[in-house]
């Protein structure tokens, strides 16, 4: 058909309206996400404290990072945070999702209650848990006292501070994992369970051979999201322990915050940010590969 809207032979018609639609997202994303990231990478090779021009120092900031004891402590802490928080969130989130998925009485209420912490800001969660975990008059130690457990210095001891922050983080993060697991569980076809039952599979066997394989992509996603979230842990640390005592609960983002916002050393802080980005990238790729391999296996 020949008409005003027809393309000329050999030319591809571009539907500009599509670009207009994505521009609403793409332009702010480029301006406020991609540009600052690229600028941050540039700043990581400079010495800069906002005022004046950044001065190029090459790899000095990265060399400094390798010598920085606090950064090493922060990365080790983040590793331990991940070791506690990720399994905690995944196991508890899945357990509660399995419980609510049974549709027992009050499951709707349980669903709301379990998700509620996730809609509260991490700062508020931190403040609440400072009270709960207080050594001398905290609620948790009060009840542990009934069991004969002596007061645990959850936030004031170098041995316990990381656990204290982790408990609050699990409580906060679990809501999202719970909702994702619940959605995945509700997608598992009922006829699979019926077939398993006919084959004489027990509830545990059904869970192992039907439920878990079916929701494996969701487990993979939750683990990935949780690892990324844990590696970026900040608000709880900032509010509950300020990274102390003696760096026992210091996280990488808290270290970046102290360096950039409190001490105005933006070049070095950017270099640490780039290192954290690379660490998250590597961990995520390894984790995704492993889970994919497991799925194939």
């Amino acid at each position: 058909m020949q008409g005003p809207l027809a393309t000329k032979p050999g030319r591809t018609k571009i539907d500009w309206i599509g670009y207009v639609f994505i521009a609403f997202f793409a332009v702010p994303f480029l301006l406020f996400n991609i540009m600052p990231i690229l600028f941050g990478v540039y700043v990581s090779f400079t010495e800069w404290s906002i005022v004046g021009e950044p001065s190029w120092v090459g790899l000095d900031n990265y060399r400094e990072a390798l010598r920085d004891e606090w950064l090493r402590t922060a990365f080790i802490n983040v590793f331990f945070y991940a070791l506690i928080i990720v399994p905690g969130v995944v196991i508890l989130g899945l357990a509660f999702a399995l419980f609510v998925n049974q549709g027992w009485p009050l499951s709707a209420l349980a669903r709301t209650l379990l998700f509620t912490p996730n809609v509260v800001s991490a700062t508020v969660i931190g403040l609440v848990w400072v009270w709960v975990l207080d050594t001398q008059f905290g609620v948790l130690n009060h009840y542990l006292g009934y069991l004969g457990v002596p007061p645990v210095p959850w936030l004031t001891s170098v041995h316990w501070a990381l656990f204290g922050v982790s408990i609050a983080s699990i409580w906060w993060d679990m809501g999202l994992a719970f909702v994702l697991f619940l959605a995945a569980l509700q997608d598992v076809p009922k006829d699979l369970y019926e077939a398993a039952e006919i084959d004489g599979a027990s509830r545990l066997r059904q869970m192992w051979s039907v439920t878990l394989p079916y929701i494996r992509p969701t487990i993979s996603m939750v683990v990935t999201l949780q690892i990324i979230s844990t590696m970026r842990i900040f608000s709880q640390v900032y509010v509950m322990t300020n990274g102390g005592p003696s760096g026992a609960s210091l996280s990488v983002i808290k270290h970046i915050y102290d360096t950039a916002v409190v001490r105005n050393i933006l070049g070095y802080a950017s270099a640490v940010s780039v290192l954290l980005f690379l660490a998250i990238l590597v961990v995520t790729l390894v984790q995704r590969t492993l889970l994919r391999e497991t799925a194939r296996g």
Binding site: S49, I50, V51, T135, N242, G244, P245, S246, G247, D258
Partner: protein, 433 residues
């Protein structure tokens, strides 16, 4: 739907009027009153009093109005720097003496000597020490802040605990040994566990850091030499002070590391002696805590304590004409700072205010406020006015010093090793200027 009256002409006219209003409104407002933008990080009960000061200014000055914006304290310097480089810095804001060397070097804070003279601010009416503390020797010894208050750290003591221990509240210790005796008498223990601290302490953060800083200075330690060239003068005294703090926990057992919030803990009777600043008065008086404030005892060779000087500083502007108007506003706030230095916080740096007959009777009772004013006589431990000043500050819970000392309090590093690290880092800071 009726469209009566909604013609294209009406719409165009309305839009034009709206646009004109948008364009000319700020101009009209400016013609009516000059607006001065003020940033403050005062957010506790002192912030409420400061708001009253601003309101009083706005009520008294119809041709000039202050618009105050509150910025979190920790982010304050970075936000000021960010605003300054984009040409949008506030006209003036809150500062702490000795902490703005870098801003002075970068030209972000404005030297005030000439502006103060032009505005008619009576610098001679200020305490000489207060003015000296607001100057930066490395930057032409310029005055970069108009002092508004002087806050010293002094011990607040729970009088119920004093009575319970059979101690005489009129004879608060003036030396270190008696201080420990008092602390022991008021400490409550369950076996070896301290349940109520005779001396309020935390296992990390501000309290042990500032205690170390004061005791070390009393024992003869200097963070920087007078010429700001040598770091850690008399390091042995600094190490001895670390042991003094550790002994509170481990030898005398008059303090516990298990306090998360020292302010709350003292307010709820979990500590008996708590050295802190006058910013706590509003809260504790408000909750009717039975306490009294005394002068910091002489633990080392000389009696001295920490002080913090708050004040107002002017930030760089594209329109230099704004400085004079801003300085007028700052002068007014300083001249009328009676409320601020009786109810707000700290002692007044103005001789004319200190000599007023009602200075001792206004605001909180002298029994809780007096030591903070009288104690300024020996409050000499302030900030080190160099670019890396924040690394030197002893009133910090998260700076380089506090983090390094936390290892000592937690038993993870030796005092000698910590002192070596402090010396190395501080020397670098002094060398950088």
């Amino acid at each position: 739907m009726s469209t009566d009256g909604l013609t294209r002409r009406n719409v165009v006219a309305g839009a034009a009027a709206l646009a004109a209003g948008t364009v000319f409104k700020p101009w009209v407002a400016r013609a009516a009153a000059t607006e001065i933008v003020h940033w403050s990080w005062l957010a506790a009960s002192d912030g409420e009093v400061w708001q009253k000061m601003i309101d009083a200014f706005n009520a008294a000055n119809k041709d000039m109005q202050i618009r105050m914006e509150v910025v979190p304290e920790e982010q304050y310097p970075t936000k000021v720097l960010g605003a300054a480089v984009t040409g949008k810095a506030p006209d003036f804001g809150w500062g702490t003496a000795g902490q703005r060397a870098k801003m002075a070097k970068d030209g972000v804070v404005v030297p005030l000597d000439d502006l103060a003279k032009k505005a008619g601010l009576d610098v001679a009416d200020f305490d000489a020490f207060a003015i000296k503390s607001a100057r930066y020797p490395k930057y032409n010894n310029g005055l970069f802040m108009v002092p508004m208050d002087l806050m010293s750290l002094q011990p607040e003591v729970n009088l119920d605990h004093v009575k319970e221990a059979g101690l005489d509240p009129e004879k608060f210790p003036t030396d270190g040994a008696t201080l420990i005796d008092w602390a022991k008498a008021m400490t409550k223990r369950d076996g070896d566990t301290v349940k109520r601290s005779g001396i309020m302490m935390t296992g990390s953060g501000v309290q042990p850091t500032v205690t170390w800083g004061i005791v070390a200075a009393q024992m003869g330690f200097q963070r920087a030499s007078d010429d700001l060239k040598t770091a850690c003068v008399n390091p042995q005294a600094g190490i001895a002070a670390m042991h003094w703090v550790l002994d509170l926990f481990d030898k005398h057992k008059v303090s516990t590391r298990d306090v998360t919030d020292r302010y709350k803990a003292f307010g709820t009777g979990q500590g008996s002696i708590f050295w802190t600043g006058p910013w706590t008065l509003n809260g504790y008086v408000g909750q009717k805590l039975n306490f009294r404030t005394y002068l910091f005892p002489k633990i080392g060779d000389k009696q001295l304590t920490y002080f913090e000087e708050g004040g107002l500083e002017l930030y760089v502007q594209k329109d230099k004409g704004r400085y004079e108007a801003t300085m007028q506003a700052v002068k007014w706030l300083s001249d009328n700072s009676f409320l601020w230095t009786t109810v707000g916080r700290g002692a007044s740096p103005r001789k004319s205010i200190l000599s007023r007959p009602d200075y001792k009777t206004a605001g909180h009772p002298w029994s809780v406020r007096g030591a903070f004013v009288d104690g300024m006589a020996f409050a000499t431990q302030g900030e080190i006015p160099v670019q890396s000043g924040p690394d030197f500050t002893i009133y910090s819970g998260g700076n380089f010093l506090a983090k390094t000392l936390e290892g000592v309090w937690a038993g993870q590093s030796k005092p000698e090793d910590a002192m070596a690290r402090i010396q190395e880092q501080w020397q670098k800071g002094l060398d950088a200027g």
